[in-house]
Symmetry: C2
Subunit: 591 residues, 2 copies
C-alpha cells in the first residue's frame, strides 16, 4: 500500500480554499505517485483552532458543505482521510465532535472522533467538543488501521494537572490494529518534536505497529505548526520537511517500510530526557529536564539546544500571520537594541527586505552608539529605514502637561511618554501605508512589565514575546554564526541593554541581571513555583518575592499585549490566564 | 433551624482576608442571631474565578491551610458551609475539584464536589476541575440537606451547545433531600436574576424543598456578582440585598419559613419569558425572548427593562476593580459625548467626585458645544476637571511626519493621531498621579472597531464596553430621570454622536444608524447568525455582510482592549474567543 501524508497549511474558516488544497494534493498523490491512501491533519477542512467560531451554526454547516464538496471533488480511486467538525449524535454532551473521516469513491466510508480533548494551556477543546465513546478500525488493503487524534496519543506524557481516564490507543491496540494514524494540529514549541518521536516510537514498539504522524504546518495567531510529519516503523523513520507544506510518501509492503520519491529512511534517535521532563520545565533554550538551582546559575552557562528551529518557527509565524491577516508590508521601531534588531532580522527573512521598514526615533537620551547601530543593522538587512527625531514631540508634550504636572519631578510619566510618542508615530505609519506594526518586546520584559503599554508594546503581533532576554542574545549570536557574518552588529550584542528613556539608564538599574532573572522567571512561569518555593531552591528570598510580585502586578499590561508567537511550553497569552484584580499571595512567605 | 446566608465579597487569592471575613460573619450570625447553619458562596475561601492560579500548587496548599485555620478559628456551635478548592482523590481526571464542605466543632464533617463544570462563555472549569461522581446528604437537625453547586442547577436551562449527561439535582432528590443549598458565584447579566428565581422555584416545587441560593457579591476583573441570595419555599421568597455584602437569616421550622431580622417575605413573581429564551437572545436592554426583525426595528422602540440594575452593576464593577487593584483615584478623557459622560457619572458614583478627574482635550475639530457640554457635566458631577488643548501636539506630530507622509491626504492616520495624543496624555496623568484610567468605549464601537487602538481604547478597565450605543443612551436618560435633574446635560443626549476627528464628522457617516446597527450586532453576537441568516430575517444583504465583516476584521483591536465589565449574556473579552488570522467566511453569501 502506498500511503501519503499531506502536510498542509489550512486557514481557519477558509472552507473553499482548504478543500481546493486537499483536492489538488490528493490528485497529485494519485497521479504522480499512485497513492492508495492520503492522510491530512486534524481539522484540515476548517483549520485549527476554530475557537468560538464553533458557536456559529453557519460554521458547522460550512464544514458539512465543504465535506460534501470534497466528497464529490476528489478522485474516486484513492482513500482520503481528513479532519473536520461534526455534530454530536450521542444523547448528551457538547453539541460537536472533533472528527476524522475517510472519503472513498464519493462516500464517507469511516469516521472516528477524538477522545482526549486538551483543555489546558492554549487548548479549549472541552469548550466545544464531546469525547469519543467508541473506537473503530478501518480495514484497508490488508491493514487494520486505527486513528488516534492528536491528544489521544499524548496521554502517555502525563499532562500536568490531568490524568486521562480513557486510553484510546490501548482500545485500538486491543482491537488489533496494525497501523496507527495520528492526525494532529500539534502546536510547536522548542524540543517538542523529539517528544513526538519518542511517543510514537514507544507506541510503535508496544503494538508492533506502523505509525503515521500527520501534523499541520503553518500558523494561526500565536500558534505555530512545525509540520515534520513522519512514518515510523521499528527504529526507522521517514520524515516530512519542517515549516513548509509537504507531501510525504511511503510504500508499506508485507510489514516493510519503503521510501518513495527519494526520502531518507533514518534511524530514530531519541534524547535521553523523558517527554514528561521536557513538558514541565524550562524556557525555550534554558536547560530542560532538570531543576534550575542557584548553583546552575553560577556555574553553568545556558545550555543551548536548537536555535535554528526557533528562528524558523518565528519566521513562519510572522509570515503566516501577515498572509492570513492580509498584510504585505511590515514595520517596526528600531532602537539600536537587541530586541528590535532580532525582530527586524526575522521580518526581513519572513517577507523580504523590500517589504520591511525600520524606523529609528531617537530622543535626547538616545546614545550615538544606538543610532549608529540601528543604521548599520538596517543597512546590513537592506530594508527600508526612516529616522524621525522625537525631541520636538517630547518637548510639546512636556509643555502641554506643564500646568497639570507643575512642580513634579521627571519620573516614569515622562519616560513612558517617549515610548508612547514612538508608538503613536509607528501606528500613524501603519494607518497611512497599511503596513503591519511588529512589537519588539521579549518575555523577560513582558513578565516584569518592563515595557510601556501603548508604547513599545504596540503592534499587531509580538514575534519574540516568548523568548527570554538571554534567549534573544543566544539566538542573535547563533544567527551571526549561521550567516557567517555580523549581520546583527556586534555592538548590539555586546552593549548592556538599556531602554534609554532617562540619562545613562541601564536595564540592570531596575532589574536583576538577565541570566539570574530569566532563571527565576522560569521557575515561576514554567514550574508554577511561589516565592517561598523558589527561595527553597537556594535563591535570595527578597529577590524571589520581588520578581514574583512584579510579574503578577504586570498582568494588566499583558492582558492588552498583542498575540505572542508561542515557542515555549508556556507562553503569555491564551495559554496563561490570570486574574488581574487579586491578592498576590504567592510572593508572601507564610512563616 | 435558624439558617443564615452570608453573601460575601471574596478577593481571589486573599486567603487570610477571606477566612477572617468568614469567621467574623459566622460569629455575628451565631452571637446576634443564634444561627445553627451558615452558608457561604462557591469558592468563598479562594475567590472566583481563580483561573490559572490553580496551576500553582502553592495556591492549593494555601487553600488547604486556609480551610485548616478556618476549622480552628470558627466558633464550634454552628455549622459553617463554605466553598474551596480541593484535590481530586479519584483515580483519574483533572487534579482538582471545586468543593463545598461543612465545618462543625472544629472538623470537616461533610464534603460535596461540583458535578457540572461550566466550560463556555467566561467559564473554564473543565480546565482545572474534575466532576463529582457521588452525591451525599448532610443530615442536620431533622433536615436532609443536599448541595448543588452553581451550574449543577443550571442544567435546566439547556446551555447553548451543552446537554449535560448527569443530573445532580435529580440524584439528590432521589436520595430524599428536604433542603437544597445552591452555593454559587453566578456572574451577573441583565435579567439573569429572574432566571435564577424561576429555576429555584421549579426545583423547589418539583421536590417540595426549601431552596437556599447563596450567591457571591462583588466583582473580579470583568465579572460582576450581584448577590441577591435567597431562600425559597413554595411561592415564598426571602432575599438578600443586591450589589452589597449581606447576612440573610430565616427560621425553618416544621416545614414553614419564617423571616428573621425584619426581612420581607415576598411572593415569587416570575416573568413569562422562559429562562432558555433570555439566555440566548438579545443585548442588555434590547428586547429579549423573541427574534429581532426588520419590522421591530421600524415599529417598536427599544423595550427597556431594568436600567437601575445595570447602573448598580457597573458602579460596583468599577469600585471593586479599583479596590482589588489598589487604586484610589480614577480619571478619564471627557469629550462632551455621551459615552464619556456616562463613564464619568458611574466613576463618581463608584468612588466619589473627589477621586475622579475628567480631562477635556479639545482639538481643532472639537465643537464649542462639546467643550461646553464637557465643562457643564464636570460641574454637575463636582469632579476634578482639567483642560489640555492638543492642537500644539497635533501640529508637532504632523510636522514630525511631514517627510514620511509627503504628498499624502489627511486620512485615518491623522484622525487616529488625535486619539493617540489624548491616550498618551491620559496615561501620563495615570503614571504621574497613580490614577486609574477608565476607557470610555461602548459595545457598538468595540464591535465595529470604530475606536482607536492605543487611543480612546486606552484604560485599565472599560466599564461600558458591554453596552450598545442605544443602551448607553437609554441608561443616560434613565439616570437623569432617577436623579430628577439633567445631571447629564440634555445636549449630550440630544446631539448626534461624533468622534470629532475631522471637520463635521458624524458617526452615521461611517456607521448605520445605531438603532439598526445594534439590532444587527445582536443577531451576530448573541444569536451567532451569519450575514445570510441575518438577511433571511429581513435585513439588507449588503448591510448584513458589511457589519459582519467589520466586526470580524476588528478582532485584533478587541484582543488588546482592557477588560470590559460584563453585563450581558455575551460580552467581549474572555467570554468570546475568536481567531484573528482567518477567513471571514460568515459574511459570504453561499448562493
Amino acid at each position: 500500500m502506498r500511503i501519503a501524508i499531506a502536510q498542509i497549511n489550512s486557514t481557519v474558516g477558509d472552507f473553499d480554499g482548504n478543500v481546493q488544497k486537499i483536492i489538488d494534493i490528493t490528485r497529485r498523490a494519485l497521479e504522480e505517485h499512485d497513492a492508495h491512501l492520503i492522510l491530512f491533519p486534524e481539522l484540515a477542512i476548517c483549520g485549527y483552532p476554530p475557537m468560538d467560531l464553533l458557536d456559529q451554526d453557519f460554521f458547522v454547516e460550512n464544514n458539512e458543505r465543504a465535506l460534501h464538496s470534497l466528497q464529490h471533488g476528489l478522485p474516486p480511486d484513492i482513500a482520503c482521510a481528513v479532519g473536520y467538525v461534526s455534530r454530536n449524535t450521542m444523547a448528551a454532551g457538547k453539541s460537536l465532535v472533533n472528527a476524522y473521516g475517510i472519503l472513498y469513491g464519493g462516500t464517507l466510508v469511516f469516521q472516528q472522533t477524538k477522545t482526549l480533548l486538551p483543555t489546558y494551556d492554549v487548548f479549549d477543546e472541552a469548550r466545544n467538543f464531546e469525547s469519543a465513546k467508541s473506537w473503530n478500525l478501518f480495514d484497508w488493503m490488508g491493514e487494520r488501521i486505527g486513528f488516534a487524534i492528536c491528544e489521544d496519543v499524548w496521554r502517555e506524557t502525563e499532562t500536568p494537572g490531568t490524568k486521562y481516564a480513557e486510553d484510546p490507543v490501548r482500545r485500538l491496540m486491543d482491537a488489533g490494529i496494525t497501523f496507527l494514524c495520528v492526525p494532529s494540529a500539534s502546536p510547536f514549541y522548542a524540543n517538542k518534536h523529539s517528544m513526538r518521536l519518542k511517543l510514537a516510537s514507544r507506541i510503535a514498539h508496544r503494538g508492533n505497529l506502523l505509525v503515521a504522524y500527520i501534523n499541520a504546518v503553518g500558523a494561526n495567531d500565536s500558534i505555530i505548526f512545525d509540520g515534520r510529519s513522519f512514518f515510523l516503523l521499528e527504529n526507522n523513520v521517514i520524515s516530512a520537511n519542517s515549516f513548509e507544506e509537504d507531501l510525504l510518501l511511503i510504500d508499506f509492503n508485507h510489514g516493510e517500510l519503503y521510501s518513495i520519491a527519494g526520502r531518507d529512511v533514518k534511524t530514530v534517535e531519541l534524547s535521553s530526557a523523558s517527554p514528561e521532563q521536557s513538558l514541565q520545565t524550562g524556557g525555550v533554550l534554558l536547560q530542560t529536564g532538570r531543576s534550575v538551582s542557584e548553583a546552575s546559575v553560577q556555574n553553568a552557562p545556558l545550555s543551548l539546544t536548537d536555535t535554528k528551529e526557533i528562528e524558523d518557527a518565528l519566521v513562519m509565524g510572522i509570515r503566516e500571520y501577515m498572509n492570513k491577516c492580509g498584510f504585505k508590508k511590515a514595520h517596526l521601531g528600531l532602537s539600536g537594541g537587541i530586541d528590535s534588531a532580532l525582530v527586524a532580522y526575522l521580518a526581513v527573512k519572513a517577507i523580504g527586505a523590500e517589504n520591511v521598514t525600520a524606523i529609528s526615533m531617537p530622543s535626547r537620551f538616545s546614545s550615538q552608539g544606538s543610532k549608529d547601530d540601528a543604521a548599520a543593522l538596517a543597512k546590513n538587512l537592506g530594508c527600508g529605514y526612516e529616522v524621525i527625531a522625537i525631541e520636538p514631540l517630547f518637548t510639546a508634550f512636556l509643555d502641554a502637561l506643564a500646568g497639570v504636572f507643575k512642580g513634579q519631578e521627571f519620573d516614569t510619566a515622562e519616560e513612558n511618554l517617549q515610548a508612547r510618542i514612538r508608538g503613536s508615530l509607528l501606528m500613524a505609519f501603519s494607518n497611512k501605508w497599511n503596513s503591519m506594526l511588529l512589537a519588539t518586546g521579549n518575555k523577560s520584559e513582558l513578565a516584569m512589565g518592563y515595557c510601556t503599554l501603548y508604547g513599545d508594546m504596540n503592534g499587531a503581533l509580538c514575534p519574540i514575546g516568548d523568548l527570554f532576554k538571554t534567549e534573544v542574545f543566544a539566538l542573535c549570536r547563533d544567527i551571526n554564526k549561521r550567516e557567517n557574518k555580523k549581520i546583527i552588529p556586534q555592538a548590539i550584542i555586546d552593549k548592556p541593554p538599556s531602554a534609554e528613556l532617562r540619562p545613562n539608564q541601564k536595564d540592570e538599574d531596575s532589574l536583576p541581571p538577565y541570566d539570574l532573572l530569566d532563571k527565576l522567571l522560569c521557575l515561576y512561569l514554567f514550574e508554577n513555583l511561589s516565592a517561598p518555593e523558589i527561595a527553597a531552591r537556594g535563591f535570595d528570598k527578597t529577590l524571589a518575592a520581588d520578581i514574583v510580585k512584579q510579574v503578577a502586578r504586570s498582568e494588566f499590561k499583558r492582558r492588552q499585549a498583542p498575540p505572542v508567537l508561542k515557542v515555549s511550553a508556556r507562553a503569555f497569552g491564551m495559554g496563561r490566564r490570570m486574574p488581574i484584580a487579586r491578592k498576590i499571595y504567592e510572593c508572601v512567605f507564610p512563616f
